[in-house]
Amino acid sequence: MSNETTAVETGETIGGRKTHDEHGHITEFGYVRIFIILAIITAVEVVWSYYNIEAIFIPVLFLMMIVKFWLVAAEFMHLKYDVKVFAGFFVTGLVLAGGVYLIFLSASQIWQSF
């Protein structure tokens, strides 16, 4: 998986000290700003849901959802600033869940009803 070079390199950046420092990148105001973005997207989502534009309705909705999802996970949950292994676990869970359940749903042929 990895060799000792990475061991040394990463060892310096992932200590508790460093992560604590990095939280400092976002200020209270920064959090509020992210929240405002989230709120705006939510508002757009809701409005969008009233205009049923056949072909792109679902894709755009899911795109907005993913952006919101990403913002909360990356900023509020500090995934962007924290050690990569946390994101690794989370993404593994998401990808596995996405993979197996999408296959399951496809095998059950539910998509034509969407």
């Binding site: 998986m1 990895s2 060799n3 000792e4 990475t6 061991a7 040394v8 990463t10 060892g11 992932i14 200590g15 050690v83 990569k84 292994v85 690794g88 593994t92 869970g93 596995l96 993979g99 197996v100 296959i103 399951f104 095998a107 059950s108 042929q109």
Partner: protein
């Protein structure tokens, strides 16, 4: 995973005189002798041993169930079990062997060996470790209590271990049996999930200095992969079991075909869990024999990185093959073809492993001890099981094989011939490390040969029976189909297995008796390679006297052997000189706790409660909640008030004591525990040795 390669800083701590303080129920139990010390222990080694002991108890239950099945089927039109009881017996046999025997036996080895193999003093969350043990025990007894609750064989699960819908609904299964299945497996799932989280964190975070991921023994690697499989597979079955429970107890419609529900929902959810589960069962044994074979071949494992990589590959691919259990369910040709191909692919990493074990033995100086015999047994028997597995991946063939005895033969060859034989290999190999004496080799060889012969007698003929068309799960058969001979052979074989296991149990006591007249086994009776052999046998409570600094794969071996000028391997030191003698009694260890046991005791009450009477849920809930709060407010250690760490947050200005701050550290995080191992070095700074730390600790207290 590549980033977590920072060396582990494990300091030795210090033991300070324990001053009893009247904290009532919140005092932590102390002492390490007597039955109470076992009940409340958080020592990973004792927990591992208890896992093993309870699993062996369930093994006897599951084994008796198997004998009952074979007695029934020995001759045509067997009359020993009624069809109703037969369904219950084979279901409980399967559920018991999978969830109460193989998985906990693997957990026994994981608990005992994983921290040792990475050079740690304990797991990351010792109390949670105790919790997983006791939740497993609670769940196991809950499940087995179905055998007699409401009368013998009245409310026993009877839907087979995979319990397909809609047969599992109240319409077709009106007894409480399936409820016990649904609730019991959820309780057991909690145990495994807690254990998985704990061991993952332990493996990543608690490794000794220099123990990089690619220096971890193969067993540790395989156990890590298993924990990941558990982590991600268990929630899937949890969903399925919840839905089933909702259907049966509260009239939901998830599997109610009358309401247009899709019975394949259960099959998908179950097998998305169920196939990784198969690897959860087998990978620990793969790990065990990957330790045993190199030692008794006197060669390093062949292709270490391929061994690790193929284990990881099996773990990943195991997620993409579940529908091969459903080839006859009408999935449609595309799904069937896709899953057929993915199933064939998984034979590749498995083949790599088999090859590597054989190549490890090739040209080695082989010692055929019992442990080695069992390991070779795994390689050969698992190969047979693996090959019959490949025949399942061919969906047209599988259509013929589905629900016949051919399937029964296949999975017994992998689970018994693979997983269980591997675990027996582990017993013989690590017994001296765990208990300080070797198991007798003569009895051991009888044990092995009886087991392997009995095993092949029992399950070999099932291939033929299956191809002849004998359905699995039938409770009897008429004469004249050609089933008689092989069924009789199979039943005789099952009793041979029984005697083999009996000999193992006798061997435990015989060997213990004999060991009184034998010299002590020493730290390293097999001339082994991994870190657990670097400390005394049986392992001292604190594992290692001093922290080990690892500088290579098979670090311990390289301490003992070097190369001469011609490049030949020569012994440079004796194990006794290199290994630690376990004499350091100055190591700070996590304190025992009441709460894991209390919390676990609450769960069966909740289980009986949802089935029979909600008031029982109240009792169970009270126990669980009480235990959680007790857990949170429990001092993290003996209330000695002086181990010197954690009382240095002076600047928050509220001047509370060290203990209360500790209690808060662990508050509100259900998944919190403190590893107190050598934690008190705040002032000592770079305290690397026990002595300096001890000084620092005393200075703090003074």
């Amino acid at each position: 995973m590549a980033i977590i390669e920072n060396p582990l800083e494990l300091e030795s701590g210090t033991v300070v005189e324990v001053a009893e303080r009247p904290l009532g129920a919140l005092t932590r139990p102390s002492g390490n002798t007597g039955w109470a010390s076992w009940l409340f222990t958080v020592d990973h080694k004792r927990i591992g041993i208890m896992y093993g002991a309870f699993a062996m108890f369930f093994f006897l239950i599951g084994g008796l169930e198997a004998l009952a099945i074979r007695l029934q089927l020995a001759v045509p039109n067997g009359k020993i079990l009624s069809p109703e009881v037969y369904n219950q017996v084979f279901t409980m046999h399967g559920v018991t062997m999978i969830f109460l025997v193989i998985m906990p036996l693997a957990a026994a080895f994981a608990n005992y060996l994983l921290p040792l193999q990475i050079g740690a003093r304990d797991v990351a969350f010792p109390r949670m470790n105790a919790l997983s043990l006791w939740v497993f025990v609670a769940g196991g007894f809950f499940l087995c209590s179905s055998l007699f609750i409401g009368g013998w064989f009245k409310n026993v699960p009877n839907g087979g271990w995979f319990n397909y819908a809609p047969n599992s609904g109240t319409l077709f299964s009106p007894t409480q049996g399936i409820d016990f299945y649904a609730v019991g497996l959820q309780i057991l799932g909690i145990a495994s999930l807690v254990s998985a989280i704990n061991l993952i964190v332990t493996t990543l975070n608690m490794r000794a200095e220099g123990m990089t991921l690619m220096r971890m023994p193969v067993l540790t690697w395989m156990l890590l992969v298993v924990q990941f499989l558990l982590l991600f597979a268990l929630p899937v079955i949890t969903v399925a079991l919840f839905l089933l429970m909702f259907d049966r107890l509260w009239g939901a419609n998830f599997f109610n075909v009358e309401m247009g529900a899709d019975p394949l929902l259960w099959q998908h959810l179950f097998w998305i869990f169920g196939h990784p589960e198969v690897y959860i069962l087998i990978l620990p044994s793969f790990g065990i024999i990957s330790e045993v074979i190199p030692v008794f071949s006197r060669k390093p494992i062949f292709g270490y990185s391929f061994m690790v990589g193929s284990g990881i590959a099996i773990g990943f691919l195991g997620w993409g093959v579940w529908a091969h259990h459903m080839f006859v369910s009408g999935l449609g040709p595309i799904s069937v073809a896709a899953f057929s191909v993915s199933t064939m692919m998984i034979a590749v990493p498995t083949g790599v492993k088999i090859l590597n074990w054989v190549a490890t033995m090739w040209g080695g100086k082989i010692r055929l001890t019992t442990a080695m015999l069992f390991a070779v047994g795994v390689v050969s028997m698992f190969t047979i099981g693996g090959l019959s597995g490949v025949t399942h991946s061919v969906s047209v063939a599988d259509t013929q094989q589905t629900d016949t005895y051919y399937i029964v033969a296949h999975f017994h060859y992998v689970i018994f011939g693979g997983a269980l034989l591997g675990i027996f290999s582990g017993f013989y190999f690590w017994w001296p490390k765990m208990f300080g004496y070797k198991l007798n080799e003569k009895w051991g060889k009888w044990n092995f040969w009886l087991q392997i012969v009995g095993f092949n007698l029992t399950f070999g003929p099932m291939h033929i029976l299956g191809l002849q068309g004998m359905s699995r799960r039938i409770d009897s058969y008429d004469p004249g189909y050609g089933f008689e001979t092989w069924n009789l052979v199979s039943s005789i074989g099952s009793f041979v297995i029984f005697f083999g296991v009996l000999i193992f149990i006798i061997n435990i006591f015989v060997s213990k008796k004999q060991a009184e007249h034998l010299p002590p086994v020493g730290p390293d009776p097999w001339d082994a390679r991994s870190l657990e052999w670097m400390t005394a046998s049986p392992t001292p409570e604190h594992n290692f006297d001093e922290d080990i600094v690892v500088d290579s794969l098979d670090h311990f071996w390289h301490q003992k052997y070097g190369y001469d000028d011609d490049g030949n391997v020569v012994r440079i030191a004796y194990a006794e000189d290199v290994a630690q003698d376990g004499s350091n009694d100055n190591v700070h260890l996590p304190s025992p706790s009441y709460w894991p046991l209390v919390l676990s005791a609450g769960l069966p009450f909740i289980g009986y409660g949802v089935i029979y009477n909600y008031w029982l849920c109240a009792i169970g809930g009270f126990l669980v909640l009480g235990a959680i709060f007790g857990w949170i407010f429990e001092p993290p250690d003996d209330p000695d008030g002086g181990h010197g760490h954690h009382d240095d947050h002076g600047d928050d200005g509220d001047g509370h004591s060290a203990d209360s701050s500790d209690a808060d550290d662990s508050a509100e995080k259900t998944d919190d525990d403190l590893v107190s191992v050598g934690a008190d070095t705040a002032e000592a700074g770079d305290a690397a040795t026990t002595e300096t730390t001890a000084t620092a600790g005393e200075a703090d207290n003074g």
